[in-house]
Amino acid sequence: MGGHIVASFDEELGAIDRLIREMGDLAQDMVSSATKSLLDNDVGLAQRVISDDLSMDDKQRQIDERAITLIAKRQPMAQDLRAVVGAIRMASDLERIGDLAKNISKRVNAVGSGVMQRKLSHSIDTMAGLVRAQLAGVIDNYVGRNADALVTLRADDEKIDVHYTAVFRELLTYMMEDPRNITPCTHLLFCAKNLERIGDHATNIAENAYYMMVGKQLPVHRPKIDETSISGDPR
């Protein structure tokens, strides 16, 4: 596909795309660092994640400004319009991912390095791994403009949800065993919930990237299993 007649239009679109990629890389990094700091009880790393979020917010604002300026100046049409609108949406998803990673990092102190943490590290780690893979896949496929892969990736979100349900039940069990566990477990529960939310945002990004590339919306209803809302028996 040839460039625009107005070359600076291409440059402006390129700058927005580059920012999205940077945010994607940063988001991946923050998510891995946050889980790592949680599992290793690494307060220093947690602190770095918290400060990274500032840069994340800044990048999102930049994208918003550039996108709005571009719409005002160029009145983009068709794929360009989708690219700009998609970038705004993806940036806000990525920014939310950054927030959630920061939230996990903030809980590192509260969870502490107790027994609970070691007992759970395996299941949380697995879940975090899935979320990281999901996020990395979405970002890679966005960068590589691979629309079909995005459709498959979206379906993978289900696995994260399943894992989250498992972690939820496990934590419930611990809390019932010993009320002293309630505080760290609640924090861990939030962390797990945050990871699950990160997965959801990744899915959103996948949907937006798909629309951006193909020009069609993916169907809204996707199979989603959240059994935690039913406290007790799953159906």
């Binding site: 596909m1 040839g2 460039g3 625009h4 007649i5 107005v6 239009f9 679109l13 795309d17 160029r74 009145q75 983009p76 049409m77 068709a78 794929q79 360009d80 319009l81 989708r82 690219a83 590589g144 403009r145 691979n146 629309a147 079909d148 590339m213 193909v214 020009g215 069609k216 919306q217 993916l218 169907p219 809204v220």
Partner: protein, 283 residues
């Protein structure tokens, strides 16, 4: 962004397919009743062919926009619909153009009658160098649409009202139409066209000589007129096509490249040429 074109373009009639939300599909996307149908229209200027096998339906009571780069044949096609091309020496039209099922190029059809049914508004506002009243009254007068003076006055006032011009000119109906501003002149031309109650109104770049405010007024007017008239508009402004039309046809080098609901053409067109044109990547 280079991969978008590679990604498979789903066909238009996939509206029942898995990826289209039926509830969100705009009303206009459902095939409307056609008022004017054009089948395999070929136009020649002397030896040079200007249009190749164009097939378009102009749907009833809606706006269809013809877009495309200069010299793509969109104006030529528009002028085929009321046979304004007849006045151009050496212009030859082949194919079927039907207005309500009646062949427009039938030798039995009277051009004068056809043009009373298919009105036209031109690129440059071209009011007659006469009074505002006479400008609007001229069409009804020559076609004998008014039997007496009161009726004629009624037609003029209604037409000016429909063209949202009456309030601005009611105190100076007998002043020359050429004394109005560009935008008012163009609305006067629209009033003049609708005074003969045409079924179809053709507009050839009606806003290209106007400032943005006047353009907005004309666009608003086109939107209102849509309720009663079938409108075909040629425009160079893609934003305008996107704003005023329900369907859009993209012409390129004498070919009709793509025709479809305006939303589709401007957000996710099927043809690469359309995509390149609407995004500003042409040439």
């Amino acid at each position: 962004m280079t991969n978008i074109a590679k990604s498979e373009n789903t066909d238009m009639n996939m509206s029942s397919g898995p990826f289209v939300d039926v509830a969100n599909t705009p009303k206009q996307q459902r095939a409307p009743k056609a008022r004017v149908t054009a089948q395999n229209v070929n136009v020649f200027y002397g030896q040079k062919q200007a249009l190749f096998d164009v097939c378009v339906d102009v749907p009833d009571r809606s706006v269809i926009a013809f877009i495309g780069p200069s010299g793509c044949g969109k104006s030529t096609f528009l002028r085929c619909l009321n046979r304004m091309n007849d006045t151009i020496e050496g212009c030859r039209v082949e194919g079927d153009i039907k207005l309500d099922g009646q062949d427009v190029y039938d030798p039995k059809i009277d051009v004068v009658e056809l043009r009373a049914r298919v009105g036209m508004v031109f690129q440059k506002p071209n009011p007659f160098p006469k009074s505002i009243f006479e400008n609007v009254a001229y069409g009804p007068k020559i076609h004998g649409l008014a039997t007496n003076k009161t009726e004629l006055e009624e037609i003029v006032v209604t037409s000016l009202r429909k063209a949202s011009l009456f309030e601005e000119v009611k105190d100076r109906l007998h002043e020359p139409g050429t004394g109005l501003s560009g935008g008012q002149q163009q609305r006067l031309c629209i009033a003049r066209a609708i005074a003969v109650s045409p079924e179809v109104i053709l507009m050839d770049e009606p806003c290209s000589a106007l400032d943005p405010i006047a353009t907005a007024k004309i666009e608003e007017l086109i939107d209102e007129l849509r309720a009663n008239y079938t409108i075909a508009i040629v425009t160079h402004s893609m934003q305008q096509a996107a704003r005023v039309s329900q369907r859009t046809a993209f012409f390129h080098l004498g070919l009709l490249v793509e025709e479809g609901p305006t939303e589709t053409i401007f957000t996710a067109p099927n043809d690469k040429r359309t995509q390149d044109y609407v995004t500003g990547r042409f040439g």
